[in-house]
Subunit: 136 residues, 6 copies
């Protein structure tokens, strides 16, 4: 049996700013532009979590979408939704919360909860026009 | 000649929080929930600006979309994009930046620039699932 | 203060068939086509519930979206989601579950829970290409 | 019984240019910009045709969507799809094919085929960001 | 010449329920939840069929989209559209019609009609939030 | 550090026709159908440009989206937007402007401007229902 990739969409809203503490304001602005606004801006992040693996012949599922939905809720939404990423999420106190880094963060949060014989892929839309994909 | 409504989509990203200074933290949380997070959260606001009026028989336009696009850029995007609404937009220092109030604010910014014989309507998506409409 | 219309999206999946018990199979098929399949077919119904009224100057809300979201869940989703409309929803045992009739049904379910000084509008997508709107 | 508005989406692709024969090239370019390119450009036009009226108590329909779909196909798609609007559509040989004028043209094509006790509304997307609405 | 992947969207509506005949009602409900409703529910399935291969230097096509569109219509839409998958589709009388199994079924229906030097990929949206991908 | 794929959406409108100069009108029509209309038709092309590579640990970016946005504007939009592809784009005077060939053309325009250790992928929507993907 070949592999199927199953995907579930979710979303969260958050505030962030892009900057490095060890750079001057001038350098932060020259590299990150208005995304470096010290008062923060924000996004509706749209998230797609994809899991690839063989279909379980008993259920016809690669993975139960209800379980995946709950997992995303507990591991991702409760950590990131309606939060200020720079202030309230431990990892982003020192790591710049770019879409790339947030996608890797979400991957690392979910990976331990996905069976080892399955692959995980994270797609994260920062805006309807900018998005990133990470699969470990 | 009957009226035609022409619409132009735009967008901006911003941080905000919902709260009233004259309420306690407890009351703000009980009314506004996680939207009242003191560290802010944010959205990709999707905006539709609609202008209704008669078609100019010379051009075939109700209003030149390029002019409307530039007007939205100057009056709305430059004021709100990548901003913290509560801190950086004068009106929202004392007014709660709900989607309703932001739509009225945008209407009031654009109305003086639209010809008097034309009607203006603002549709504002705070998230893909929540949106408001205001036409004066 | 002029009125603002606030809208909330929701969705539910259901099976149905279009037919009248008092018509022959031939007449049902000639009027309703493949939508009259006796074994049912189904849709992902996308729902937009809109409430129009004045902005409450205290909260900046026309209506709290969390309350509207919960109301849609209790009154609409719990009644219609993952149901066979013809068999499991009392009203549609005798009434043809067209998109038009479902929209009126949803309006009537929600109207008693919306303040009398506010207007209610129901938009229901039966497919991404067919949708209906009803406001009483 | 109050009125319900039923809507059907359709689409067509076409080439056009915006210009007036009685204007100089300079004036056409100054008013219509790159939309006036003499070699034409084109769009995927997305169309929504809406019909408002009372629900027929026998069928539960305001109007049979299959009939509306076929009507749009015959009256609109066969006239406009994969056409050069300025060259191949009689009306636009002398009338500027702006979105506004195309919407009025579609309304006039469909209106004679819609029952007199029903209202017709045309929404036409020229691009995902620009659209117009006309209802007679 | 490197490979290009060309994709065509289509859709169909169907009713189904998730269950195994050899399981008790209790077990079906505990595993499949409300998706196991014996009276069925349904979906608007959105389908993307992708074919990868070299561009034919004569036509500039990997595959003629009109041919692919007709193939999807004959092989997929006529078999699944407005059907009850459990009752009316032979394969799903004994196989659970999960999105995963439907995607594999569509792949197997189309594969014999696609040239051997081309690859086939099926993406199937069961809802706007749940989708699966299969490529053999 | 594993690779992340970052994507940016853009769009352009253009006219084109599908045909070969060395074929008769009859043969062009039999192969390309109404897409071969000598008077041209057109599309709103939606473009996704994706760049894959390692995250720069200093910025948290694979590639600065502002730089990618400007690159797409200069290399793609200025060349193709509001143009007649067959007449005004040198490559398509002799090459059939199918979606496949346009995607390869865009890839070749952008590839020299993307760092050698990064991969480039082009996704091009000719209509909301037809799209192609090319990655060299």
């Amino acid at each position: 049996m070949s592999k199927v990739k199953v995907s579930r969409k979710a979303h969260f809203n958050a505030a962030h700013r892009l900057f490095r503490k060890d750079w001057s304001d001038e350098k932060n602005t020259s590299i990150f532009g208005k995304c470096s606004n010290p008062n923060y801006h924000g996004h509706n992040y749209e998230l797609i979590v994809s899991v690839s693996g063989k279909i379980d012949p008993e259920t016809g599922f690669v993975m139960d979408m209800k379980i995946l939905k709950d997992l995303i809720k507990i591991e991702v939404e409760e950590t990131l939704d309606h939060k200020n990423l720079n202030i309230e999420v431990e990892e982003f106190k020192s790591l710049n919360p770019t879409a790339e880094n947030i996608a890797v963060f979400i991957f690392n949060k979910l990976r331990p909860h996905i069976a080892l014989d399955k692959e995980l892929e994270i797609t994260l839309y920062e805006t309807p026009r900018n998005f990133v994909m990470y699969s470990g």
